[in-house]
Amino acid sequence: MTGPRMWGLVAEFESPDALLAAAHRVREAGYRRIDACVPFPVEGLTEALGFRPTWLPLLVLTGALLGAAGGFFMQWYAMGVWYPLNVGGRPLNSWPMFIPITFELAVLVGGLTAALGMLALNRLPMPYHPLFNVPRFARATQDRFFLAIDARDARFERGATAELLHGLGAAEVSEVAR
């Protein structure tokens, strides 16, 4: 396995603390294209991996504002322009009555944007990933903690990187075929 045939390296750890310590050290060593796969949320892991804020909150805000604007416009256009209806002498643009639907649509569109945006930004659904080529990786859903380094990382050097991972107490370091 050389160059383009290789996706990267994955190290297996036996405890969340060992993984956390290793993630810190790997980042300190200058690696940036790293990821972890764990069977349950490990506190402090996102900070250790250096996760940065995503665009998702802005997407959700945009979705919510579009939903609100659309919801209000729908009612205003229907009640005021398209089919003007006099309800008990109230003004055609009875905005207080439009607020509940406006709010509901803001929540609906914002919520859908959050769910779909999260999937899109994570490039999900993803039926295949090179990590699946490592037989032991199935234990990421059970009792093992994995730290993966992408071969495209600027610091990545097959031998040196594997050595670093071994030095951090990895139970096993596997090469990941593409």
């Binding site: 506190e43 402090g44 008990g88 002498g89 109230r90 009875s94 207080p96 009555m97 607020i99 509940p100």
Partner: protein, 385 residues
């Protein structure tokens, strides 16, 4: 805030309060009506902090969670101001005839509606109810404070007793605040009524309680080991709870508007017609913008909630808007209160200054971290997540 700083705060609050009280008393001699109105609002505002804080303490005994440990002592300590606030009810009694139309025999004689409501809205019954509310509040607060102090020295106190007391305690709080809000604020417009009003009033109190106790905890965070409780994880929880009450307040305030707008009944719309006058409309928009949208947008952000100073600033802003909201609830309903009066600024300083001095005095040397509560360890170890 060290004990020396607390003493300084107490002295300053006392000085400002006393000076403002003297100025307000002089103002009262010239325009008693404006003084009594301003006093009622300032008093309701200060009263909302201990009542809201005690409701939060009881809520936390029932719900659990690390967040409550942070503010338990700070919140409990507000109870010490209740007797002072009971004393501050005296000017409200003295000014009843200019605040409450139903307390004026002439007005009652001229209006059949007021005669009809006289069985409830009359001076002796009003005073008896006020005494009852304060007895209930001071009683509940005394039990909470005493048991909490007892737990510090008795290691294996049965924790169930706190829950068994907090449940009925919250029921008592809900009932007394409902009737107190009707007596002291809603009855200013005796021909009008709204079923959402007492709930809105109570939620406003709890919001004030959250805002005040969060700000107090942040100011006191340089005390050890209390400072370890004021960590980002707990602040995020407290910020989220405050946000919940901002939303609940906005929801209830809007619900009342929506129902009255939809109903469009002559007796009901009067409340909003009085608040649609030029000056008050501006206050309404300020409430929508600064009491709802601004804290909403700020409290959605984790960075704001994790930062003690930023969160305390938002809490301070909410507290100021609570006072504005109390003015908006009370003043437009009183005839002749449309114009701005300088006493509206000075009187809150008088009541608030004296109140704060009493509160700061209580905090001096107080152990801010409760002992023998298993939640303390959890709260100190809490990480941002």
């Amino acid at each position: 805030m060290t004990d020396a700083a607390l003493v300084r705060l107490e002295r300053r609050a006392l000085a400002v309060g006393t000076a403002a009280l003297i100025v307000a008393a002089v103002g009262a001699a010239f325009s008693p009506a404006a003084f009594f109105r301003a006093w009622l609002v300032s008093w309701l505002f200060c009263l909302s902090i201990p009542l809201g804080a005690l409701a939060i303490v009881m809520l936390h005994y029932l719900s659990g969670g690390s967040w409550g440990i942070v503010i338990r002592r700070v919140a409990e300590s507000t109870a010490v101001t209740l007797p002072l606030l009971a004393l501050f009810f005296v000017p409200v009694v003295l000014g009843m005839h200019v605040i409450y139309e139903w307390a004026e025999p002439g007005a009652v004689a001229a209006d059949p509606v007021l005669q009809y409501k006289h069985a409830y809205l009359n001076v002796p019954f009003f005073l008896a109810r006020a005494v009852l509310y304060f007895v209930a509040w001071i009683g509940v607060a005394a039990v909470l404070v005493r048991w909490s102090a007892e737990r510090d020295v008795v290691p294996d106190l049965d924790p169930r007793r706190f829950r068994l007391f907090a449940g009925p305690g919250l029921v008592v709080y809900g009932l007394t605040v409902t009737f107190a809000s009707i007596d002291w604020a809603m009855s200013i417009e005796p021909r009008w009524s709204s079923t959402v009003y007492p709930m809105m009033f109570g939620v406003g109190q709890v919001l004030a309680g959250f805002a005040f106790t969060i700000a107090a905890a942040v100011l006191l965070r340089d005390r050890e080991p209390f400072g370890r409780l004021v960590n980002p994880a707990n602040l995020v929880d407290l910020g989220n709870l405050m946000l919940t009450f901002v939303l609940l307040w906005a929801y209830l305030a809007f619900t009342q508007l929506l129902l009255i707008y939809a109903g469009n009944i002559r007796e009901e719309v009067t409340w909003y017609l009085a608040r649609e006058q030029p000056g008050w409309l501006g206050v309404a928009f300020a409430l929508i913008g600064v009491h709802f949208f601004l804290p909403f947008a700020l409290l959605l952000q984790r960075a704001v909630k994790r930062n003690p100073v930023a969160l305390a600033t938002v809490a301070g802003l909410i507290l100021v808007m609570r006072l504005v909201d109390d003015y908006w609830l009370v003043l437009p309903g009183i005839r002749g209160a449309e114009r701005f009066h300088w006493l509206y600024v000075v009187t809150p300083l008088a009541v608030g200054g004296l109140w704060l001095a009493a509160y700061a005095r209580r905090l001096r040397g107080l152990a801010l971290v409760p002992a023998n509560d298993p939640l303390v360890e959890q709260a100190m170890a809490a990480h941002g997540h």
